[in-house]
């Protein structure tokens, strides 16, 4: 076992010195699938002949799986402990462990682990016993996921597209930084941003208080440090025409949120009133200076929800989707994700940033993951005292 680990370590190091970082592009479709099918066939072949070839058994016996698990634990710990900045300094850098997920050492051990587990999973299915259903499910599903992760790693297509309002776009930037052409064209029809109500913080000693009060209309307010803050005027679409005037209601591009606040000192009763606004890319912001030197400030309002209405036109069809975070659009093997917008303009953003991801392994991995969920639930349901039951059955 130790020999096997030393061998893997040596091979990984040698590959790292001769090839540099592991680049999975050689696994791009169709090669990843072809290799995966052959790999699976090889494992089944090995297991089928395990009685003839005794050495195969040594590949998934107890010593093998304990070692493979332990080696993965050690590597994952190193992964967590070594800063992943891709530096080439120090021993870790020289061995490529500062970018663990593309290091040969890590990936060879992962392949070894997956192989041991694969043999075990096939063996499980061979000796099917209902009582062990959760174990079989787990070995099998984790095996599928790791296999897909290894052989599918060259298939990832992720294209970032920045869409200006109303202009069709078919080009984007792939994850390697090169420009990429999509098999469909995207047009941003509408961008909608919902924001949380403004938060007012106290700014004192060059730091923003972690506490804040939420201002969602006239009369709202609360206490911040020694100050009682109350909103006496609320403009959701406000503009300020000069730096020392107040804010006026204005439905104009770039209109910002402005609140007229009254602050009363809870001990002295001292009181101040003035406008506070986060400003926008067009109109300036404003803070309220308090007599004790602190200020009331409104940071940029946080986005609650943002949504792009996008028309997708491919050779076959034309469809309109509402895409928001956690709600990607699906188009064949492609999924289109909402990732960003022009945050300096906030609700007035006229661009939307989307990411198109093609993942041919999606269904397989999803099935395997739902198998884990099922296995986890089963393990929970059967978990208590199962060992006792096993013993009783043996007796």
């Amino acid at each position: 076992m130790l020999q096997r680990c030393v061998l893997l370590l040596g091979a990984g190091t040698a590959l790292h010195f001769s090839l540099g970082r592991a680049n999975p592009s050689f696994l791009a479709y169709p090669w990843g699938v072809i290799l995966a099918v052959n790999y699976l066939y090889l494992l089944i072949l090995l297991r089928a002949n395990a009685d003839k070839w005794q050495w195969v058994k040594r590949w998934y016996d107890r010593a093998a799986y304990i070692t493979s698990l332990a080696s993965m634990l050690v590597l994952t710990l190193l992964f967590g402990l070594i800063r992943q900045d891709g530096s080439t300094e120090g021993l870790a850098g020289v061995l490529g462990l500062t970018q663990m997920s593309s290091s040969w050492i890590f990936n060879l051990f992962l392949l070894h682990f997956t192989t041991v587990m694969g043999l075990k999973a096939i063996d499980d299915v061979w000796h099917w016993r209902r009582r062990k259903l959760p174990n079989v499910l787990i070995h099998l599903s984790v095996f599928i996921i790791f296999t897909a992760a290894i052989f599918g790693s060259g298939d990832k297509e992720k294209v970032k597209v920045t869409l200006p309002l109303g202009v069709p776009e078919q080009m984007g930037v792939a994850h390697d930084g090169l420009s990429a052409r999509l098999p469909f064209a995207l047009t941003l029809k509408e961008f909608v941003l919902d924001e949380y109500p403004p938060h007012i913080h106290l700014y004192a000693m060059e730091a923003l208080s972690p506490e804040f009060v939420v201002i969602d209309g006239e009369g709202s307010g609360g206490e911040l440090g020694p100050w009682r803050v109350e909103c006496v005027g609320y403009l959701s679409h406000a503009a300020r025409l000069s730096a020392d005037s107040g804010y006026v209601d204005m439905q104009h591009v770039g209109a910002t949120t402005a609140v007229l606040l009254k602050a009363v000192h809870t001990d002295t009763g001292q009181s101040v009133e003035g406008w506070v606004s986060c400003g926008s890319h067009i109109f300036g912001g404003s803070t309220l200076h308090l007599p004790d030197g602190s200020q009331l400030v409104m940071p940029q309002r946080e986005a609650k929800k943002y949504l792009s209405r996008v028309e997708v036109v491919s050779a076959k069809q034309s469809r309109t989707f509402d895409i928001s975070v956690n709600h990607p659009a699906t188009l064949g093997p492609w999924k289109i994700y909402q990732t960003g917008y022009d945050s300096a303009r906030g609700r007035w953003s006229t661009i939307s940033v989307l990411e198109c991801v093609k993942d041919g392994w999606y269904t397989l991995v999803h099935i395997a993951m739902w198998m884990i969920l099922a296995a986890g639930a089963l393990l929970f349901a059967m978990g208590w005292g199962s060992r006792k039951k096993q013993k009783e059955e043996k007796v």
């Binding site: 698990l69 332990a70 787990i138 929970f380």
Partner: protein, 259 residues
């Protein structure tokens, strides 16, 4: 209901848990279960009320996750006690819940947080609750293992005790797997990647491997020194994953999970 009213609920719940533990040591089993259950119920009422007032699940800040942890620990303690009738099990879970409740009273992280769009997902609640439940199970497993390990006599755990310990680890590990898988499904839905080797994910995987190793070592092994040391080590990894990475130099500024 908010952090200002938390101490009242917390004190009421803790008093019930203490009374329950006391009854357990006096061999009043029914009373122990009822009182401890009442304590957990009071705690749950606060959590649900807090949820409604916040208008979002209270799972966003460390303080909020500690609420769930205290609650689940008490529930796990009651479950264990009703199975095995060891009074000290209630005692331990009460003590642990008490510690986490005290942290929340003495160092409340009351500044509220908004839910950014990525967190607004059906997966958010099950993902975090499943993890908290798992942490409670594995915390109980660790305490149990330490008790079996450090007590004077008998030296060797009985079959019954092994079975309790293994069940705790197995269920805790099953929930780790559930939490991790839900996280991966969620990440795919939100960002298009199942797994990005974010430090929190890396440490979660290390924790998962470590408990998995225990589960695989156990069947052919009764060396309780090794196994209990292993459980303790695994629990340290779990702590790294839960809050340790907030302090870890190799994770600074790169994790989306630091809070």
């Amino acid at each position: 209901m908010n952090w200002q009213s938390f101490p009242y609920f917390a004190i009421a719940a803790v008093l019930c848990w203490l009374a329950g533990t006391l009854s357990a040591f006096r061999k009043r089993q029914r009373g122990a279960l009822v009182l401890s259950g009442l304590g957990s119920a009071i705690f749950l009422v606060f959590i649900i009320g807090f949820w409604m007032v916040l208008d979002r699940p209270p799972l966003r800040t460390m303080g909020e996750t500690r609420l769930w942890y205290s609650f689940f620990l008490s529930v796990v303690g009651i479950g264990l006690y009703s199975k095995c009738r060891y009074p000290w099990m209630l005692g331990f879970s009460t003590l642990m819940s008490l510690v986490f409740t005290l942290i929340n009273i003495l160092k409340p992280e009351i500044h509220s947080q908004t839910l950014m769009p990525a967190l607004q997902s059906l997966w958010f609640v099950p993902h975090v609750i499943v993890y908290m439940f798992s942490y409670a199970m594995l915390g109980a497993a660790t305490l149990f293992a330490l008790y079996l390990w450090l007590r004077k006599s008998p030296e060797e755990p009985s079959d019954e005790e092994w079975s309790v310990c293994d069940s705790l680890v197995r269920i805790g590990w099953a929930f780790l797997s559930l939490g991790m898988t839900m996280g991966a499904l969620w990440a795919k839905e939100a960002w298009g990647d199942y797994w990005t080797w974010d430090p929190k994910e890396t440490w979660a995987l290390a924790t998962w491997f470590s408990y998995l190793l225990y589960l695989h070592l156990r069947p052919a092994n009764r060396n309780h020194h090794l196994l209990f040391a292993w459980l303790t080590f695994s629990f340290i990894l779990l702590q790294m994953c839960w809050w340790g990475i907030n302090l870890l130099p190799s994770a600074q500024g790169v994790s989306v999970h630091t809070y």
